[in-house]
């Protein structure tokens, strides 16, 4: 299953990462890196005879270099991440920039010229969209929209304030003579201010991701940095237009136009993104038959939304952010779970990959003599102003916001917000985009921008963590929400709405509730697959996840111990039972409903008659195995099971992933497993054989027997459980021994835990623990065991054939020769009255189950 994700991820990853850098590398025929130079002569010389191999470097040069660069960047990241002592102190982004310095230095040493730089085209068209799309797609929506007001104010007003104040202050200092002799006018200063104003989402994320501040603070900083990128670009374009227009021609009308264009561009971009988001949602409704391509739609349409916005000169960043934000909920519900995972992983690969490349190339770009123009006044003043005005802006805006906010932003949070104003590649990209013909001091601006970026990312990035610790900023709780917390959250939501309704206030909750109603009524109907609507409930999801987790840990535990069956006897499930009594079993039907589709194949298969021919073959194989192996019988057998035989062939298909669905093979595995279980079971019962597991078994058995002796409490609970379960899976699936539980203790051990299994995946397994449902090989086994092991005890043999429920289930197999049913029935009847004596545990329910059977003891 995960294979599909991985394969796609690499396909997409390589595809989209190869593109970006293609423009990155300028063609310099005389020197394309150190390796290129030696190869030039080679290519021209092979014309006279038929070449066996030729060397075609120019042919592949561009993609080759791009891939190589990506490879190097990734390697760099790998090296950096290998050492956690370093990354815990210095953020990864800072290290990547330093890595870029080193690489740049090497290139410089070889070429005396910087041949690889980050061009704005590559950055804005290929690298940035991936990062932003990922940010939008993984945006915590509720948090984002709850704080949207504040975020918008920071992003729009804050950014404008930053741009204006930095620009004007620099201009003022220029007029005051602090910069010496440079040719920058007021408009150019404002242009510069606008490009340096934006807090960069890439840099901010890279730092804040590692700090784990509380979620409100995080969403403020993160949301602001995302949205203000859009704002800066718009602002930059407006000022750029003003600069091109030239000072004298600017009049009131032009300024108004500029402001109007600002809003049109920003909101138009957002709107366009939303349209694309809805489009994606709609599309994923009907991609059921092309699951392999499905995840591709997200990327392609996301990218298209970016490009379309760019084409219409709307804000591309805002467009792709809102595209991701809008579609995430619906596509996650609509798409196949594997596709969702694929999208998630691929998104991360792309975003993380381009982030790495961005930082590395930010570092590399520094090593270039051409761009460095030093002007102490300009550079230092810029640094000073951006920090000061950021602080002023944040505090002032928060002061206003706190008058309206329900939960005010605390002082410490404000400090972190102002300190989190990291600048990054967007500013650099914009600086490089400046037109040298209009702005004489372009290089000074670039170098200033670079210094600002380095300073903020490296210095502020490094000091952020200690600062957060020192100020005792409220951290996010890292643990997953528990189910009860989720439920409680839901209670909150409804309660708050109710209180608002009663008190007659119209607040966030009221709005959210109305929106939710609208969404439930219209949006989900249109945008979501009908089948997906069911499971979108948060509480349900957590519940589902918990169940899955339990099941997984359960299996893991089993594998660790070498046998699933064995686990059933001893592990956590038992504890659950003890803690909560019988209630747990009630969880099961639900899970069944939830996951059963996955196991359809299994159930079908179980209903098939088992061909006895293949069985015979097995018998041989099994015998050999068993005789040669001693300690790890179980483990090894299991390994054999899924790897042997030539039926296990890999079938290639471009459009489907079928791991291994050969009918015969599945059957074979099934039978082998059965054999396996049977073996272990029998030997366990007889108190002989497989040394490792059995020793524990016996211990357990003894324990059980003691408990039995002490009081029948546990025993009865078990009986009850299996009975309950028996009912719940009765429509053919049930296999656990309702009856068995009433019998001797070793038996019970096997069955008892079965009741606690939460995942129907194990149901087949569980069935298999019962040796008796498959009569065809029953005789064989007994033969085997008598020859190779101690003969089964009389008692065990007597017990073997009676499992009516199993027989019912596996109808075709009902060939049992021995009929001890009456005996068994008697046994069962003996058990049941005993249960009824006990008040704490009501009797095994005859279907239907008593809905509140726990009430007695809760």
């Amino acid at each position: 299953m995960h294979l599909s994700g991985l394969v796609q991820l690499w396909l997409l990853g390589s595809l989209m990462l190869t593109w970006p850098v293609s423009g990155l590398i300028r063609m310099h025929p005389e020197s394309t890196g150190t390796s290129a130079e030696t190869d030039h002569g080679h290519h021209n010389s092979s014309v006279e005879e038929v070449p066996i191999v030729t060397f075609k470097w120019p042919h592949v040069k561009t993609p080759y270099l791009i891939t190589l660069w990506i490879f190097v960047a990734f390697l760099g990241k790998m090296v950096i991440e290998a050492n956690h002592h370093v990354t815990s102190v210095i953020p990864e982004s800072a290290l990547l920039i330093c890595f870029g310095f080193i690489l740049g230095g090497m290139i410089w040493g070889a070429d005396k010229k910087q041949t690889f730089t980050l061009t704005p085209e590559v950055f804005f068209l290929y690298l940035l969209p991936q990062v932003i799309l990922d940010a939008g797609y993984t945006m915590p929506n509720k948090l984002f929209f709850t704080n949207l007001g504040a975020i918008l104010i920071y992003a729009i007003i804050g950014t404008c304030w930053n741009a204006a104040s930095v620009g004007l202050s620099l201009w003022g200092c220029h007029e005051g003579g602090a910069m010496g002799d440079i040719e920058i006018g007021l408009l150019q200063y404002l242009l510069f201010g606008s490009l340096i104003a934006a807090v960069d989402p890439v840099a901010v994320l890279a730092v804040f991701e590692q700090v784990h501040v509380n979620e409100v603070l995080f969403i403020m900083v993160f949301g602001e940095s995302l949205l203000n990128d859009g704002v800066t670009v718009v602002l930059f374009n407006v000022f750029d237009a003003f600069v091109s227009l030239g000072g004298p021609k600017i009049n009131a009308a032009e300024i108004v136009k500029g402001i109007v264009s600002f809003f049109v561009v920003a909101f138009g971009g957002s709107l366009l993104g939303m349209v694309f988001g809805l489009l994606i949602s709609l599309l994923t409704r009907c991609t059921k038959n092309i699951k392999i391509i499905e995840p591709g739609f997200i990327f392609v349409l996301g990218y298209l939304s970016y490009l379309t916005a760019e084409m219409l000169s709307l804000s591309a960043i805002l467009s792709i952010v809102f595209c991701g934000v809008c579609c995430q909920k619906y596509i996650n519900a609509n798409m196949d779970e594997n596709s969702v995972n694929t999208v998630r992983y691929a998104m991360k690969v792309l975003a993380n990959g381009s982030e790495t490349i961005i930082f590395v190339f930010l570092g590399i770009s520094a090593i270039d003599k051409e761009i460095w123009v030093w002007n102490t006044g300009f550079i230092l003043l810029t640094l000073l102003f951006i920090i000061i005005y950021r602080i002023i802006g944040v505090f002032f805006l928060t002061w206003i916001l706190n008058k309206f906010r329900l939960v005010p932003v605390s002082f410490i949070d404000q400090v972190i917000m102002s300190y989190g104003g990291l600048r990054g590649a967007v500013a650099y990209g914009l600086a490089v985009m400046l037109d040298e013909s209009k702005i004489k001091e372009k290089n000074l601006m670039i170098s200033t921008t670079l210094i600002v970026v380095y300073f903020t990312v490296i210095f502020q990035g490094i000091t952020m963590k200690p600062l957060v610790r020192w100020l005792k900023v409220r951290r996010a709780n890292t643990s997953e929400l528990t189910l009860i917390e989720k439920v409680q959250n839901k209670v909150f939501d409804h309660m708050l709405v109710a209180i608002e309704d009663i008190s007659g206030q119209i607040g966030h909750n009221y709005m959210r509730d109305k929106w939710k109603h609208f969404e439930d009524k219209w949006m989900t109907n249109v945008l979501m697959k009908p089948s997906a609507r069911k499971v979108r409930d948060q509480v349900f999801k957590v519940f589902h996840r918990l169940n899955l987790k339990d099941a997984v840990s359960y299996v893991a535990e089993g594998e660790r111990r070498g046998s699933l069956e064995f686990v059933r006897n001893e592990t956590a499930i038992v504890d659950f039972k003890k803690k909560i009594g019988e209630d747990f079993t009630e969880v099961m039907p639900d899970i069944m409903a939830d996951t059963s589709s996955d196991y359809d194949a299994m159930t079908d298969m179980r209903r098939d008659p088992v061909p006895s021919v293949s069985l015979e073959i097995h018998e041989q194989g099994m015998k050999g195995v068993r005789e040669t192996e001693d300690v790890n019988t179980h483990h090894l057998l299991q390994q054999h099971l899924y790897k042997s035989r030539k039926q296990h062939r890999h079938r290639y298909s471009r459009s489907h992933f079928h791991v291994n669905e050969d009918e015969k093979e599945v059957q074979e595995i099934f039978q082998r497993t059965m054999r396996n279980r049977l073996e272990s079971f029998k030997s366990a019962k007889m108190g002989v054989a497989p040394p490792k597991t059995i020793s524990k078994h016996q211990k357990k058995d003894q324990q059980q027997q003691q408990k039995m002796a002490n009081g029948k409490q546990l025993d009865k609970s078990k009986t009850y459980n299996s009975g309950d379960e028996d009912f719940e899976f009765s429509e053919g699936d049930s296999a656990t021994g309702f009856e068995a539980s009433g019998t001797s203790s070793p038996w019970r051990v096997t069955y008892r835990a079965g009741a606690g299994i939460e995942n129907p995946a194990f149901m087949p397994d569980m069935d298999l623990t019962d040796p008796l449902q498959v009569p065809p090989w029953l005789a064989d086994t007994e033969l085997d065991s008598s020859s190779s092991m101690v003969a089964p005890s009389q008692r065990a043999q007597v017990r073997l054939p009676w499992t009516p429920s199993n027989l019912r289930r596996l109808a075709p197999l009902r060939i049992s020769t021995r009929s001890t049913d009456s005996f068994m029935m008697a046994d069962r009847e003996a058990t049941q009255p005993r249960n009824e004596d006990d008040e704490r545990f009501p009797p095994p329910p005859p279907p239907p189950p008593a809905p509140h059977r726990d009430e007695g003891h809760m």
Binding site: V216, L481, E485, F492, K514, V535, D575
Partner: protein, 220 residues
């Protein structure tokens, strides 16, 4: 007229001290109270149940119960009122008062505890200090009853799983024969420690009159 004005002002002053609401908020809420009760002194269940906006709320019953629950009046009594006056109404409302910048850490902690107690009381319907599985199930069932897709069985299972979770966090090492009876308040506090109560469980009580806005709402 003037005399009654000062009398009600005095009364408001009292309430302000008691509940922490501002005068404006109290006046607003009083208006709302009179609107709900039909200009009566007291308010009854029917009054609250007739709020149309509330009809879709899955927790309607619990919330309305909470208003009539004596335990939410901060004077350790149990039982239910039949009708509540404005003061009781305000007391319940005050559980949802947001903190402001001036509230100290201890006050916040106290508020949190009060809010938790309110929640706990909402679950613990029989007032025995323990949320039993049955009680908890009931809430979860109601909670999920409106979402349609999730059946009763699932709701029950979710409640069970949640309970199990509580049991395993609070009593990690249970003897086999032990039995988890239910969530005590201490456990409740413990479990919800991570939940951001401070930033969650309040609503905005506007200082301005909202009756005009309500007209718009009524049409929706």
């Amino acid at each position: 007229m003037g005399a009654s004005q000062t009398r009600s002002d005095n009364r408001y002053q009292d309430l302000m001290d008691k509940t922490g609401f501002s005068l404006e908020q109290i006046k607003n809420l009083h208006k709302r109270f009179l609107h709900l009760s039909g200009n009566e002194e007291t308010i009854s269940r029917e009054n609250l149940e007739s709020i149309s906006a509330l009809s879709n709320n899955p927790l309607r019953k619990q919330i309305i119960d909470a208003f009539f629950d004596k335990r939410n009046q901060r004077d350790d009594k149990a039982g239910f009122f039949h009708e509540i006056g404005f003061e009781q109404f305000l007391m319940v409302m005050s559980h949802f008062r947001p903190p402001n910048l001036k509230t100290t850490a201890e006050e916040k902690e106290a508020m949190r505890k009060e809010k938790l107690r309110f929640l706990f009381n909402m679950h613990d319907t029989d007032n025995d200090g323990i949320i039993t599985l049955t009680e908890y199930r009931k809430v979860v069932e109601e909670l999920l009853s409106k979402s349609g897709a999730i059946g009763l069985e699932a709701a029950k299972a979710i409640a069970d799983a949640a309970m199990l979770e509580v049991a395993s966090t609070n009593v990690p090492h249970m003897a086999p024969e032990d039995f988890y009876e239910g969530i005590t308040f201490e456990h409740f506090e413990q479990i919800l420690k991570g939940l951001e109560m401070e930033s969650r469980m309040h609503i905005r009580f506007l200082d301005v009159d909202t009756t005009t806005m309500r007209c718009g709402k009524a049409t929706m």
